[in-house]
């Protein structure tokens, strides 16, 4: 130990903030299956995407380079909250009576309160550079929507956010944040787009889903000359931007001569997990740390990685996006309205999917009430009231630490504490009122019915 006492926070200077994003594509053992054009089913090229994305982001999406420089202007904005602190969860460890060391990376210090602005800022920046005046996007729980509202405000751009209807009702203050930062927030499905109208026609009472909201935002961007689209997760360039998290963690742990045995993050589209785990996955694949255990945590109600199929599917309900090779529950699946709205996505990041399929990473799934139980333990030991999405990562970290208590193994556990739950208190109220529903995915029954479909 370089330090005589045990640190609570491990901090980096602003000058130690990563200057480059880490592109894991450079370290994959086999290449990714390319995204396919929704109409031709041929691999998409840069031109196919240029109607809704600026060229620099398209380049990043497909780049083979191991490192990509973060523009100085973007780093200047990120320095508002980065480098974010790494905490040693001493109180949680004592409470669990575990020999394990638990560290958490606290991303709730950003103005919107989550890891999301790590990518909304560069995305808005590159769009601004390309002369785009307006960005359309979707949001589930509102973390991404508020992060993009914040970023577009910085560059004086307009922003329209399609917010999944059930979250719009559950989380009114996220919508208020978007308004403070000057963005327009519309409950999805809406009558503003053809995709939204089609869904409403079929089912006026639908709670909405991320897949539907993506269709609406993509359609909005494709039908307005001055408007581009931005996605808060899933895509390669989004995961790329989030790698500042894992790179900082590695530096911070090095300051206390540590390296994680286990790295944990919750997964909806996969970006916060990608952010914390990709630098360590790179170490694993290049043989530097072969044994690091990388765990993606998802809700039992929407268990894409643990119960889905690894195949080509659309990223949205209407089938407007390219076909992505990923784990999916089917693009027409509308997950139940769990409080972790940000995890209600039928698919997953193609890179995370591939790494799970290649067994570089693994996935676990939890029910809603057990993750809130874990979040309560965390709040009563470390103080932070985490977002419902984040509580999935907390639960997995606690389970790992309890396992260490049984085995006596003093593992180093690192998890991404991706956001605060200050606007999710109604979810905690529901937990205390014993009204949380333990949704799950009836995968056995679905498998039986799929088995009867004739093979082509």
């Amino acid at each position: 130990m370089r330090f005589a006492y045990m640190h609570t926070k491990i901090l980096l200077d602003e000058g130690e903030m990563p200057k480059r994003w880490y592109n894991i594509l450079a370290d994959l053992s086999t290449p990714m299956d390319p995204p396919l054009h929704p109409a031709t089913k041929k691999p998409v090229g840069p031109d196919d995407l240029s109607a809704i994305f600026p060229m620099e982001l398209i380049r990043q999406e497909m780049s083979p380079d191991r490192f990509i420089d973060i523009p100085a202007e973007v780093r200047e904005v990120l320095s508002l909250w980065r480098p974010s602190p790494l905490y040693r969860a001493k109180r949680l460890e004592q409470h669990l009576k575990t020999p394990a060391k638990i560290y958490y990376k606290w991303e709730g210090v950003s103005p919107p309160g989550s890891h999301k602005p790590n990518t909304s800022v560069p995305q808005a920046y590159y769009n601004m550079k390309a002369g785009v005046e307006r960005i359309a996007t979707e949001t589930g729980a509102g973390q991404w929507g508020s992060a993009l509202a914040f970023a577009t405000m910085l560059y004086d751009m307009e922003c329209t956010i399609y917010m999944v209807r059930s979250s719009y009702a559950q989380k009114p203050y996220r919508k208020s944040m978007m308004h403070v930062w000057g963005a327009e927030c519309i409950p999805s499905p809406s009558t503003k787009t053809k995709s939204g109208q089609a869904v409403l026609e079929k089912d006026p009472e639908t709670p909405g889903s991320l897949g539907i909201a993506i269709s609406e935002a993509v359609e909005d961007a494709a039908t307005h000359q001055n408007t581009n689209y931005a996605l808060g997760s899933v895509l390669n360039h989004v995961c790329l931007h989030q790698t500042v998290i894992g790179q900082e963690c590695r530096e911070q742990l090095a300051k206390v001569d540590d390296y994680p045995d286990v790295v944990i993050g919750c997964v909806g589209g996969g970006s916060n997990f990608a952010g914390i785990s990709f630098p360590f996955a790179g170490d694993k694949m290049t043989g530097k740390h072969k044994d690091v255990d990388l765990i993606a945590v998802e809700p039992a109600s929407c268990p894409t990685l643990t119960k889905g199929l690894f195949t080509y599917d659309f990223g949205d309900v209407a089938g407007l996006t390219p076909l992505l090779k990923m784990f999916t529950l089917g693009h027409d699946f509308i997950p139940p309205s769990i409080h972790a709205g940000g995890l209600r996505y039928h698919g997953d990041s193609p890179i995370v999917s591939k790494l799970v399929n290649d067994k570089v990473m693994r996935a676990v799934a939890y029910h809603q009430s057990e993750v809130f139980e874990a979040a309560q333990t965390f709040a009563r030991t470390e103080g932070i009231i985490v977002a419902p999405e984040t509580s999935h990562a907390v639960k997995a970290a606690i389970d790992q630490a309890l396992e260490c208590r049984k085995t006596g193994n003093a593992k180093t556990i690192l998890f991404n504490c991706s956001g605060h739950g200050n606007f999710d208190m109604s979810a905690y109220d529901a937990f205390y009122a014993k009204q949380l529903v333990d949704y799950e995915y009836p995968d056995e029954m679905i498998k039986q019915s799929l088995a009867r479909i004739p093979k082509i």
């Binding site: 209807r165 059930s166 009702a169 559950q170 009114p172 089912d203 009472e205 639908t206 709670p207 039992a300 109600s301 529950l329 699946f333 509308i334 997950p335 139940p336 309205s337 029910h367 109604s426 109220d429 529901a430 009122a433 014993k434 009204q435 529903v437 333990d438 949704y439 799950e440 995915y441 009836p442 029954m445 679905i446 039986q448 019915s449 009867r452």
Partner: protein
Amino acid sequence: MRRIGFVVNPIAGMGGNVGLKGTDGTGAEAIRRGAVPHASERASAALKQVTAAGIMFLTCSGKMGEDALRSAGIPSFSVVCHPPASTTADDTKRACRKFLDEQVDLILFCGGDGTARDVYDVVGSTIPVLGIPAGVKMYSAVFAIDPAAAGAVIEKAGELPLRDAEVLDVNEDAYRAGILSTRLYGIARVPVLEDRMQVSKRVIEERDEERAKKEIARFMAEVMDPDRLYILGAGTTTEAIAHRLGISKTLLGVDALKGTNIVAPDADEKTLLSLLTKEDSAGIIVSPIGAQGFVFGRGSQQISADVIRQVGIRNVIVVSTPAKCLETPVLHIDTGDPALDAEFKDSIQVITGYRIAQRKKIQR
């Protein structure tokens, strides 16, 4: 102005106090044993929660309604029935008929399972009803959980969404002999009280029962094997599944079907067992019944322990609307065979929507 028909069964609950386990046909005996009527008091406790103006109660004279309204301090009511001093089930029915003629928005009754049956006999599912619990047994799902909940529903009568509520017929003679024998008597409609704390936050899909039933049916139609025999329990959720398959099933009975054919409508245990001897594999699809959430053992007793063993508990599929799940935090299984009950673990998967399930605890 909302109009609410209000009737109290003054002898409800009296049998319980004096060990009669019910008051059906034993009212005089209960009084002889010294039972004290309390139904009117219970009703008054619920009515005291009502503050909203703009409600007109239509009721019966004296202890069948008027007394409770007066003691709760409710000024706006009109006595439309004048029952005799010694009342019977017929007086409850007569009052309900009068309420229907007067086109009330809701019939509020105070009593137990017997009273619920009397009200249901007249009202059916034509207008919503709500029970203030005052009986000995309340296995039916038409009762408010407490007087405060009843009061809140009364205030919003006519505005609240409705749900199905099973009315159960409990055989009192058997019950007094220590045997709980029930059957599904009918399905009434009751107003659903949205969570008082979280009205705006309740997720949308949990509110609309009809939509939920359709979603469950859409999923089940997709996963049901057309070459397999299925035993469908009673109720409107299983009825929705049959409807989706383009067939009509008996609402209150158990039907056996294969593909889009009803093999045996309203089948009894013997018929089911004999059908099963001819099948390699079969499935059971049931919905929890009654206020307590019984998966087996209430309402669909044709699906006996033997039938369940024959099919195998792995092939039991439980379906329920989210609204119903919300009201029954735990499910009960009482097949009459404790060893079989124990084979169901601590929790069970309940299909609640299209590719959506919930994990529900089982209480023994």
